[in-house]
């Protein structure tokens, strides 16, 4: 169990940092910018200025986003004695790297691309693991997941199995981490994240006319909705699912998101509503004077900000219309 008072310093620091989060006005101005130069001018007024200045080409904007997130993670890590809360956010980057490394091995690529520097396990160690060296500094759970994924791939020769196994392993470890931290806020956040992801997985697999076995393998553990519920709903049409979840916390997200999915054939609106719902949960951190909520809320807000910028940059670079971008744009935290 973590004590609220361990977060005093970090919370004070975050209160000051929250003032530098992107405001709705900034997002609007980027959205209305005529060209990329105008976008860069707006960004130069924000906290992202140093990261974007370093870029050689605007197409590398992902690098700038990564650097800015790295800075944030560094600030929060140095402000906390107990790093487990930060681990809740960085674990997914390590599993991402794990996937990239294993898939590169499968494809026979020497130097993997798309690795992120936001993880906490050094990439060199992951590469050593993939070369089959013993004595590598990779945490045990990750190593086991990697070995299992590699084994299953060799049996099935299906690269999708790698994703399924490593995603499941990530969520199993997240569940363990959250149990270990033992904070209700984090528990309910993870449960909502899992539930909403499972709903999406189920609907997607329905559209792909997949079978029950694939569904069982794809559903993530740790949600508040039983896995049996999904297995039962898998046979039913989407409106029945919407009806069945009408009394849950997710009723609005599920109704608006899935109805749009059915009519448009694209999960984009559902994904946006899910992100906004989860951000709404995180906003508790904005109103709590200090505590774990403040830290989790801020880190979640920063990740959300990167998503907003990603949608904006991709949209702007490809000259997509303002309305189309707006439809996919997430809400801001503060």
């Amino acid at each position: 169990m973590v004590r609220e008072q361990e977060f005093l310093y970090a919370s004070g620091r975050i209160r000051a940092l929250e003032t530098k989060l992107l405001s709705r006005t900034i997002v609007e101005r980027i959205l209305e910018a005529q060209d990329m130069d105008a976008v860069m001018r707006v960004l130069s007024e924000t906290d992202y200025a140093p990261d974007f200045e370093e870029l050689e080409s605007i197409y590398d904007f992902e690098k700038a986003l990564e650097n800015s997130m790295k800075r944030t993670l560094g600030v929060i890590k140095e402000s906390l004695k107990d790093q487990r809360v930060v681990r809740f956010f960085t674990l997914k980057y390590d599993y991402h790297n794990l996937k990239v490394v294993l898939k590169s091995r499968i494809l026979g690529v020497e130097v993997p691309e798309n690795l992120t520097t936001l993880g906490e396990v050094p990439v060199e160690e992951l590469l050593k693991l993939s070369k089959g060296e013993k004595d590598v500094a990779v945490p045990k759970l990750m190593r086991l997941a990697f070995e299992r994924a590699a084994e299953v791939y060799e049996e099935t020769l299906d690269p999708q199995q790698v994703d399924l196994i490593l995603d499941r392993a990530l969520y199993e470890e997240l569940n363990l981490l959250v149990q270990d931290i033992g904070h209700d806020f984090l528990k309910s956040y993870l449960a909502a994240l899992v539930d909403l992801t499972n709903i999406k997985t189920m609907v997607r697999l329905k559209y792909m006319e997949s079978d029950l076995r694939t569904l069982k393998k794809s559903l993530l553990p740790g949600g508040s909705i039983d896995l049996e519920f999904f297995e039962k709903m898998f046979q039913e049409p989407v409106p029945v699912l919407i009806e069945a979840l009408a009394a849950s916390n997710y009723s609005k997200v599920v109704k608006d998101g899935l109805e749009n999915w059915v009519s448009s054939g694209s999960p984009a609106v559902y994904e946006k509503l899910v992100d906004d719902f989860l951000l709404g949960m995180l906003r508790k951190g904005l109103y709590k004077p200090f505590g774990l909520e403040t830290v989790v809320g801020y880190l979640g807000a920063r990740e959300n900000e990167l998503k907003i910028l990603r949608v904006l940059m991709v949209g702007k670079i490809n000259g997509i219309s303002e309305d189309m971008i707006r439809e996919r744009l997430r809400d801001v935290y503060a």
């Binding site: 005093l8 310093y9 919370s11 004070g12 620091r13 209160r15 000051a16 940092l17 004077p289 200090f290």
Partner: protein, 160 residues
């Protein structure tokens, strides 16, 4: 000189009036200080404003010390002539110390939480510092009331 149980109880009361609010204030000032240090790391210009908030939970310790002094003066320990108190007199002094001892400890921590929230106000809207101070200062009321009760009781006791 024969030490009486009454004297021991009276001195114990004085000690409690000093150390319990003292603990509360130390903890409270520390809490607000931590939150303030976080804000100042990012924005050093907020130092003076947050310092005012940090000082607020410190008053309980002073009230406790004040009460302790009144006891010491009343039982004559300050002049070196400790009064020969009976057990009941000692218990009366002890009882009179309880309000500030207990309310001082708890209100300092409660006030620190409000002040730490005030530090958040300063981080975002420094012009609203006064509001942050007011919220935290409301808690002060109950520490003052407890001090008042303890002091009135102590002055009302007939010890000599």
């Amino acid at each position: 000189m024969e030490v009486t149980l009454g004297q021991v109880l009276a001195l114990l009361g004085a000690a409690m009036a000093v150390f319990l609010p003292g603990i509360g204030s130390a903890k409270g000032v520390g809490m607000v200080g931590e939150a303030a240090a976080g804000v100042v790391t990012e924005d050093p210009s907020k130092f003076s404003q947050t310092l005012i908030l940090q000082a607020l939970p410190g008053t309980q310790g002073i009230y406790g010390l004040l009460t302790g002094f009144v006891v010491m003066q009343r039982i004559g320990i300050l002049g070196g002539n400790l009064l020969p108190l009976t057990t009941y007199q000692g218990l009366l002094v002890f009882a009179a110390c309880l309000p500030i001892a207990i309310v001082g400890l708890l209100s300092a921590i409660a006030q620190a939480r409000a002040a730490a929230a005030g530090v958040g106000i300063v981080a975002k809207r420094p012009e609203e510092l006064a509001k942050g101070i007011t919220y935290a200062a409301m808690v002060e009321t109950y520490a003052v009331l407890a001090l008042l009760a303890s002091i009135l009781m102590l002055f009302g006791l007939k010890l000599a």
